[in-house]
Amino acid sequence: MTHVSTSTEDLKPHERYVPASHWRNAYDEADGAKLGMWLFLSTEILLFAGFFCAYAVFRMLYPGVWADASHYYLDWRIGGFNTLVLLLSSFTVVLAIRGAQTNRPAMTNINLIITIICALVFLVLKLGWEYYPKWVHDELPGGNFAYHSHSILEAGGYVPGSHDNIFLSIYWIATGTHGVHVLIGAFLLTWCLWLNMKGFYGPKHYTSLENVGLYWHIVDIIWIFLFPLLYLV
């Protein structure tokens, strides 16, 4: 047995990581944590399923209103750009994990920073170019919604449907909940960046980085569905 070192002080945190005593080894521990993450992500899918179901039901009840409201209130260019931003951020998270697996902390750092920037770009576009103008024009969910004559003129004769507020309610709640997830993801990624800078991630231990990555990917997947449903079709 040659692996008993006299001191672990000179090792990095990920090198001297010891799994909790009820696990056989670090691999099993990471595997268990990952399964737990997947169970949580499945509840996330079910949470958003409620919004998708509401979307489907009201689209079925008011198909015409749905198509008009989608094209009038939302700009597909912003949604499309945000889709690309999220896809890029998903790819960089993959690379960040690869950096940990191949013991290249700099690669993890850079990719996490790019991911966080992408998250911020997404939020800034969402808040500044979508939520704020809607807020100003009272294009708000439910009872806060109000029609404005000037917006009818701007739209070149678009006559608002009598159920636009339902579309906007679903838009606000679904994208709002998604936006909160992006915000939480940005904080989690920053936490991972901090841990990585302190040397906590290496080939044998990167559990929290991988699980935050999984969370980030599910946020991306939800947007992959929200974007065409709300902005395009």
Partner: protein, 191 residues
């Protein structure tokens, strides 16, 4: 009797020993490959462009555009699940968890749609007079009817104490001035 506490180094050694005994070196972690992931990313970007173009420039009949967009989105989602989220390289159990969740979503939305369609058919026949309300609906309708009648009676014959006997005596003037109040008690009496 004192308990022996291993130091952290000793604990680590024990863990590594157990790990090497039980699993050997077979379970090395799958390292995320670079080029397949880049290919997946490029595919996702292309599919995003495709979904925008098809939605903007191709006009399919009925819900064709919606279905096409959803097929593309499902394809993209599957790619993210399988590659970016490592399900392809992971234990099957993780895939089972996701599949169960997606199955629940399909049931949820699918049956909601079926319900809505069936309801439309039902409403149509109901309006055409082919179906009459029954069950709880009838009970509720009757209760409302009775309540309305009571309220009307109280309103019209407010001074005639004799007609409502005990009822009016119990509540004094309230029963006459407050129609709803009287109606509530009328319902209670019927039950």
């Amino acid at each position: 009797m004192s308990h022996y506490h291993p130091t952290r180094e000793e604990e680590k050694a024990i863990h590594e020993e157990l790990a090497s005994q039980e699993l050997g070196h077979e379970h090395h972690v799958h390292v995320t490959p670079y080029w397949p992931m880049l290919a997946v990313f490029v595919t996702l970007v292309i599919m995003t462009v495709v979904t925008v173009l098809t939605a903007k420039f191709i006009d399919l009949p009925g819900t064709g555009n919606l279905l096409l967009a959803m097929v593309i989105a499902c394809f993209k989602g599957t790619l993210v699940f399988a590659y970016f989220m490592h399900l392809r390289y992971d234990k099957l159990l993780n895939t089972v968890v996701v599949a169960a969740s997606v199955f629940a979503v399909v049931l949820f939305i699918g049956f909601s749609m079926l319900d809505l369609k069936a309801r439309a058919a039902f409403n149509h026949e109901y309006e055409a007079g082919e179906i009459t309300t029954g069950g709880m609906n009838r009970v509720v309708a009757n209760a409302n009817e009775i309540a309305r009648e009571k309220a009307l009676e109280h309103g019209h014959h407010g001074d005639e104490h004799g007609e409502h006997g005990d009822h009016a005596d119990e509540h004094g003037d309230d029963a006459h001035t407050d129609g709803d109040h009287g109606a509530d008690h009328g319902q209670d009496d019927d039950h």
